[in-house]
Amino acid sequence: MKVLKVPARTIAVFVLPCLLLYVCLVFIPILVSVYTGLLKWDGLSAATFIGLGNFKDMFLNDPVFWPSVKRTLLYAVASMVEIPLCLLMAILLNRYLRRGNTLVSIYFTPVILSVVIIGQLWKTVYNPTSMGGMLNGVLVSLGLESWTHNWLTEPQIAMYALYFVSLWQYFGYHLLIQYTGVQNIPDELYEAAKIDGADGFKADRYITLPLIVPIFKISIVLAFIGSLQAFDLVMVMTAGGPAHATDVISTHMYNSSFGSFKYGYGSAIATFLVAVCLVFTGFINMIFNRIDRKFN
């Protein structure tokens, strides 16, 4: 595609409004947030400028911070686990089912549901046996009583219980993206490959995979960055508790700002989170550029 030859003024007319919005709604708030991160401020009364004091506190003195970073990164990594699975499923659906769309729509249902509903739903599933929790009920009826847990209140496993719900919720989402990608690959390519003797998974290796890379990347970026900011599900199900066992960066930011009245400190955490997201976006881009180059 060639660049359209239109006067710069015309381009400006179309681009400027968006650019302005972008600057006002994104850049300025981020800058303000970064600045607020340099203040000692409770959000209500007068603020004092303390330079990098909040960041120093965050990195060196906050016992909750680093574990929450670790949980957030784990969250992001865990969220990517399901994407190859989705791809495999998309390929199978596309190959063996004539009306895969219906099935994909069904898988998509959890994505439409409000996170609050999903959180409440899984809370009841995870409830202790004494409160009629379904998961424990199933385990007991299978004779696996020793496997029962208080899923959301045992600090060692609560976070994994949350990871699972998140995977469950977004499975349909990534499946839909992958499925659409797979469907968009022209049949002629497969027919040609068949003539050349590449069928089944061999065709997938040489045709589906290279062509699906951009779509795959969308999924990965969405899943990864989305999980870095994970907030709503954690808030609804555990609110970061018990005793910070499920705190991720965003809930820690929220609790610091509004629970402890340390608004400046919360902004410092927000700044850190923005930085982490930017770094990882760049990182993922770099990896995919390499992959792209390899395939082209």
Binding site: L44, L152, A243, C277
Partner: protein, 461 residues
């Protein structure tokens, strides 16, 4: 090439989305900062203009909508009925005024109010807790002084001596409490009988013993909803009140006379852990919110409930009505005076200094507070009222439990305020999650004390 550009655009797009959602949380900072300066004088202005505000609102016929944030979410409780009936009555008498109830759980409301306060959008009427918890709001000039309105219709004289002091700063009253309560141990007589326990415990050791007996019988000994972390803290503070040999521990820490590493505090943590280890609390207590926790008791599944006397009316309205008694929190290791209680001088109604309809809001609140005692009395919820009310509980058909609790009030020989009413919010948060942690794992009590002390020192003003 085009493809790569596409990807770049996409990548930028995602970072935009990401940044946007972050910015939504973090941006109101500067604006609020700027307006903080302009707000302070504004609040004094509104105080002046409030002079005629408390007079019956001018019936200008102007349509006015007031938001009333409150913490009475459970429709089964008398408090819920009280607020609904009083607001409806007022709206009937003032057709131009609409009052919207924003009803939340206690913990949710606390966080929501802080979020709103950070952007200076406090609801017309909201709920605050006394002393340390409301100080930051008052310092920021967010609440309107209510002195003038209190003088209207003799409202001020209805309050118990000294109660308004918890809500006064620099000679101004900033909120009107809904009650004045003590913390007691409610117990289900039927379940005690079932377990073969004849007498209520008077020492902590007896209480532990009862917990074990109840547990063996398959009865949850102590109801609690510890997802809202204030509940555990409120119970814990009872123990501290005993191990300290009397009230004032937190004040001593504030005054620098003691530290959290004091033996009394460590002893209290140890005693609390004994309760947890004995299985006193329901499974998964930290995933149950305070309301649901209370329902464990009110539905007859738990034998005891350590909570404020404000629950008396709700218990009488529940399925365990008539089966419940109450007793003082026992002594711990032989220390403490059972007639010293955890005191809860209410949660209180405050008015936003920036309310667009300050006059109407004050007029409504005056009506509301003036009628609250009578309404609560009617709804059999008058135990722990912060205002004087005429009427004999027994003659009015109140339960034995209510009479029993009213009797306990007469024995009060002082006590302490809740932790988060005494300490600043940042220290309180550390404390709350530290106590919550005791519910899920065994922790070295010295480490708990140290954590408290560090938080206190780091957040001291």
């Amino acid at each position: 090439m085009v493809k790569r550009n596409m990807q770049k655009t996409l990548a930028i797009g995602f970072s935009v989305v990401m940044a946007l959602s972050l910015a939504a949380c973090g941006n109101s900072g500067n604006k609020a900062d700027e307006s903080a300066a302009t707000n302070a004088p504004k609040s004094t202005n509104s105080a002046n203009s409030g002079g005629n505000a408390a007079e019956p609102a001018p019936d200008s016929g102007k349509k006015v909508t007031l938001t009333f944030q409150n913490i009475y979410p459970d429709p089964a409780t008398p408090s819920h009925k009280m607020i609904n009936e009083l607001t409806e009555q007022y709206m009937k008498e003032h057709p131009n005024v609409t009052i919207e109830l924003d009803t939340l759980n206690t913990d949710q409301q606390k966080v929501k109010l802080k979020t709103q306060a950070a952007s200076k959008e406090v609801p017309d009427i909201t709920i605050v807790n006394p002393a340390a918890q409301m100080k930051p709001f008052v310092d920021a000039g967010l609440f309107a002084p209510l002195n003038d309105m209190l003088d209207q219709n003799g409202l001020k004289d209805t309050y118990q001596e000294g109660l308004l002091d918890y809500y006064s700063f620099d000679g101004n009253v900033y909120a009107l409490p809904d009650g004045n309560n003590i913390e007691v141990v409610y117990y289900n007589k039927e379940l005690f009988e079932q377990a073969g326990i004849a007498n209520t415990p008077t020492t902590f050791e007896e209480m532990l013993q009862d917990v074990k007996i109840l547990k063996e019988k398959g009865i949850t000994p102590l109801a609690i909803g510890e997802k809202d972390s204030w509940t555990g803290s409120f119970l814990f503070m009872n123990i501290l009140l005993r191990t300290n040999g009397g009230p004032g521990f937190l004040q001593d820490v504030l005054d620098g006379k003691k530290t959290f590493e004091d033996p009394a505090f460590i002893e209290a943590v140890d005693a609390f852990q004994q309760l947890v280890q004995a299985g006193a609390f329901p499974d998964g207590a930290t995933s149950i919110d305070a309301n649901a926790g209370g329902n464990i008791f009110k539905s007859g599944k738990a034998a005891m409930w350590v909570i404020g006397s404000w629950e008396t009316g709700a218990i009488d309205a529940s399925s365990v009505a008539g089966k419940v008694g109450a007793f003082q929190f026992p002594t711990v290791n032989g220390k403490g005076n059972p007639n010293e209680f955890m005191l809860a001088p209410g949660s209180a109604f405050a008015v936003s200094a920036n309310s667009e309809h300050l006059a109407e809001t004050k007029d409504f609140l005056n009506f509301f507070a003036s009628n609250l005692p009578k309404k609560q009395f009617e709804l059999k919820n008058a135990v722990g009222l912060g205002q004087k009310v005429d009427g004999d509980l027994k003659a009015a058909g109140y339960s034995d439990l209510a009479v029993n609790i009213a009797g306990l009030f007469n024995q009060v020989q002082g006590g302490d305020l809740a932790f988060d009413n005494t300490m600043n919010p940042a220290t309180a948060q550390v404390h709350l999650s530290s106590i919550q942690n005791l519910f899920v794992q065994k922790v070295d009590s010295a480490a708990v004390a140290k954590e408290h002390q560090q938080a206190f020192e780091a957040n001291k003003e």
